[in-house]
């Protein structure tokens, strides 16, 4: 498959392709000239069927300011753009690299190829100062308007003077909220189109009980009906990608847990797998199985919290408490495995940190046995109520084509009928050896994504049972010595909300040169405007709940 892609691209563009590498199974790397980038992307999408843009990364390829051991990698005084593109049919990840000048970093936008590029390009503009030719709405995304400079550049001043607050109180706080821009200028669907449209802008957030975290949703309303949405994020942007450059490879492990607190095991493993990709090591089988157990327990905990939040958002108080009861069991098991309830810090390069004993296996089996009938209880509580169906069926409908274009992944994508799951398509950990199915639905509404998640919970508990039955003996960690990788690595795994991709670059020093993370909810939430358009304002709560945003993963 890899050869086919390379040959097709070379035949079409010839000189434009500087370098094409068949890196390993399901991974192709293309280095191209800046001029052909846009055409290449169109070619990849239309001819070769690469319909999902995984991530866009901007890399500053200059020497670091802070001194540390650097060797082996050559430094250029320029920027590099890296596009990762996945094909749902071919099940191949293509990495497209191109180089921009230092003084005038401009590149053609790919928002017209994949709509999901919108926020990622805005982020690259915000944090790295790269301009995208043809982007309709190039604003800052994660940092406020009044911010100076682009923090991810290597020459950005992080000296202690700016970390601590000056002593005098300024006269005024910069509380002014960004003026909402609705650049896509979405028109109303036909069924709600009227001659006179009186529009009102409502700001929901940044602190609001139905928001699932601090973010501001600017909603343009026509009466009760949503016309357009401009979400404003970045309220808990902690600059994790910059922090990575100031920690050693191992020190960054606990920070990687904290992208999104609900899926700490997935985040952590995503980073670990990316580094293992650079180091080219495979952990021992017992570690693979333990990773799988941790991931699936984490998936259960995350989905149960989603169910609880959905219950409280739509007014069912017991819907909050029942899933939380079982969630605590999952957290107990994870605490037993890793020592922490939320941020497990469980994965290590070449294995996991702790082994489990027989007592754990016994307890986990018992818990799973009790848990599965509990799923029926939730079904009674949720589906048994007609109001739940009325509130969610036919709400937030998204078609499979739109979902792919907008880059939506995870249960929301599967609820539209696309059978895409990185656990099957791009296997990692112990998933190749486990027998499981991928639930899908056709409708694409909130109710369908609820059903997908309910099925996933059952399947996750079955996966855990299989892992416990087949748990191999042996060590759980490899001795890799000093971790100083050189080169690039990418991992792509299925977190409870969809696809999380981590891209790391090592320059042979003891710290990462660049770490780029794209969480699933980040892209899912950028599709909110398309999903909520034409529905009532009260449906917005249900649609947000169905997307299951986690602001840590969105803002990072």
């Amino acid at each position: 498959m890899n050869r086919e892609v390379i040959e097709a691209v070379k035949a079409e563009f010839g000189e434009g392709i500087v370098h094409a590498v068949d890196r390993r199974e399901r991974r192709v790397v293309l280095t191209v000239r800046k001029e052909i980038l846009h055409d290449l992307c169109l070619f990849l999408r239309d001819r070769l069927g690469f319909d999902h843009l995984t991530s866009i990364t901007a890399v500053d390829r200059s020497r670091r300011v802070t001194g540390m051991r650097e060797r082996q990698l050559l430094y250029y005084n320029d920027f590099k753009m890296v596009y990762h593109v996945w094909s749902y049919e071919k099940k191949t990840l293509v990495e497209v690299r191109t180089v921009l000048e230092r003084d005038d970093p401009v590149v053609a936008t790919v928002t017209d190829v994949w709509s999901s590029a919108n926020w990622q390009e805005r982020e690259a503009y915000d944090l790295m100062g790269i301009r995208f030719d043809g982007h309709k709405d190039l604003r800052r995304l994660l940092l406020p308007e009044w911010w100076e400079g682009h923090p991810l550049r290597k020459d950005y001043d992080l000296s202690p003077g700016t970390w601590f607050l000056p002593e005098e109180e300024p006269e005024e706080f910069p509380l002014d909220v960004q003026k909402p821009v609705f650049p896509l200028d979405l028109s109303l669907p036909k069924k709600v189109k009227k001659k006179e449209v009186s529009e009102m802008i409502l700001r929901i957030g940044p602190v609001h009980p139905g928001n699932h975290g601090p973010w501001l949703i600017n909603v343009k309303l026509d009466g009760e009906i949503i016309v357009d949405i401009d979400p404003q994020i970045g309220y808990i942007h902690r600059g994790l990608e910059k922090i990575a450059e100031n920690r050693t490879w191992t020190q960054y492990l606990p920070v990687s847990d904290r992208y999104c607190w609900l899926t700490a095991a997935s985040n952590n493993l995503s980073y670990v797998l990316a580094v293992e990709d650079v180091l080219d090591v495979t952990p021992p089988p017992r570690a693979q199985y333990l990773r799988t157990i941790a991931l699936e327990l984490n998936r259960l905990a995350s989905h149960l919290l989603w169910l609880a939040a959905m219950g409280i958002d739509l007014g069912n108080l017991s819907g909050f408490f029942y899933p939380f009861r079982e969630r605590e069991w999952m957290l107990d098991l994870l605490e037993y495995m890793s020592g922490n309830r939320l941020n497990y810090n469980y994965g290590r390069f070449g294995g996991v940190i702790f082994d489990v004993d027989d007592k754990f296996v016994e307890k986990a089996k018992k818990t799973m046995k009790i848990f599965r009938p509990r799923l029926e209880e939730y079904r009674d509580l949720f589906e048994g109520s007609r109001i739940w169906k009325v509130r969610t069926q036919g709400v937030g409908v998204i078609s499979a084509k739109d979902a792919k274009d907008l880059g939506v992944t995870g249960p929301v994508l599967r609820s539209t009928g696309v059978k895409a799951d990185a656990r099957k398509d791009d296997p990692y950990a112990a998933y190749p050896e486990i027998d499981f199915e991928i639930p899908t639905r056709k409708e694409g509404d909130v109710y369908a994504s609820y059903e997908v998640r309910m099925d996933e919970m059952r399947i996750a508990s079955e996966i855990i049972d299989q892992c416990l039955d087949n748990l191999p003996k042996g060590p759980v960690q490899m001795d890799l010595g000093r971790i100083e990788p050189v080169g690039e690595g990418i991992s792509r795994i299925e977190e409870p909300r969809g696809e999380i991709a981590t891209y790391v670059i090592g320059d042979g020093g003891d710290r990462p040169y660049r770490v780029r993370v794209k969480c699933a909810e980040y892209i899912n939430v950028s599709a909110l405007a398309h999903m909520a358009r034409g529905y009532k304002i009260a449906d917005l709560i249900a649609i947000i709940g169905g997307l299951d945003p986690c602001l840590g993963g969105i803002d990072r």
């Binding site: 940092l143 406020p144 911010w147 100076e148 400079g149 682009h150 923090p151 550049r153 020459d155 950005y156 001043d157 992080l158 000296s159 003077g161 700016t162 970390w163 601590f164 607050l165 000056p166 002593e167 005098e168 109180e169 300024p170 706080f173 910069p174 509380l175 940044p206 602190v207 009980p209 975290g213 601090p214 970045g234 309220y235 808990i236 942007h237 902690r238 600059g239 994790l240 910059k242 922090i243 100031n246 606990p254 920070v255 904290r258 607190w261 609900l262 919290l305 609880a308 408490f321 029942y322 939380f324 009861r325 969630r327 605590e328 957290l331 309830r341 939320l342 941020n343 602001l551 840590g552």
Partner: protein
């Protein structure tokens, strides 16, 4: 490249003065006569701390667990209100960024007195694992006055209960004159 000019947000100085004045008053004779009544009022305040869950990050999930079935904050009369006007206790859980800090300050100002603040988790105490981030405020107490800090990353619900009990002890003793 220029460094960021970050905004500064402090606890109001007049608030600190008020606290000091109250301390003076408490020493007077009349104040001693008021003790029993004060005790009852303080008991009422401490027994019914309605919280404004200002959950920002990981700790907000533990705050949910704190209210959920296993820990059940309702046992102590602690229920979550969605509006700051009716809340007595603001639990700041998570990293406060420069973008969020002015809003937190505004929400704190909107709370009716008596009001208390718990900084939950390392991020809220001093920036925690993000101590070298360019966008995180290094401590909630640089923005609003904090009564009790609950360490942990994230702080467990047990730890939060511990913090709440500490706060209740402080209120009952009348140490917090707000």
């Amino acid at each position: 490249m220029n460094a960021v000019r970050t905004p500064v947000i402090f606890a109001r100085k007049d608030e600190l003065l008020e606290i000091a004045e109250d301390e003076e008053k408490r020493k007077s004779f009349l104040a001693k006569m008021r003790r029993p009544l004060e005790y009852v009022v303080n008991w009422g305040v401490k027994s019914s701390l309605w919280m404004y869950a200002f959950g920002l990050a990981c700790c907000s999930i533990e705050m949910m667990a704190f209210g959920a079935a296993r820990w059940d904050s309702d046992r102590y009369g602690i229920i979550a209100r969605g509006t700051p006007r009716q809340s007595d206790l603001m639990i700041v859980g998570g990293a406060v960024t420069y973008q969020m800090a002015p809003r937190m300050k505004r929400l704190y100002d909107q709370m009716a007195q008596p009001r208390y603040v718990i900084a939950m988790g390392e991020c809220a105490i001093n920036g925690g694992p993000f101590w070298d981030s360019y966008s995180v405020v290094k401590g909630t107490d640089k923005v609003i006055p904090v009564d009790v800090v609950v360490p942990g990353c994230p702080a467990n619900p047990e730890a939060l209960f511990d913090g709440i009990i500490k706060l209740q002890e402080k209120i009952l003793k009348g140490e917090l004159a707000r």
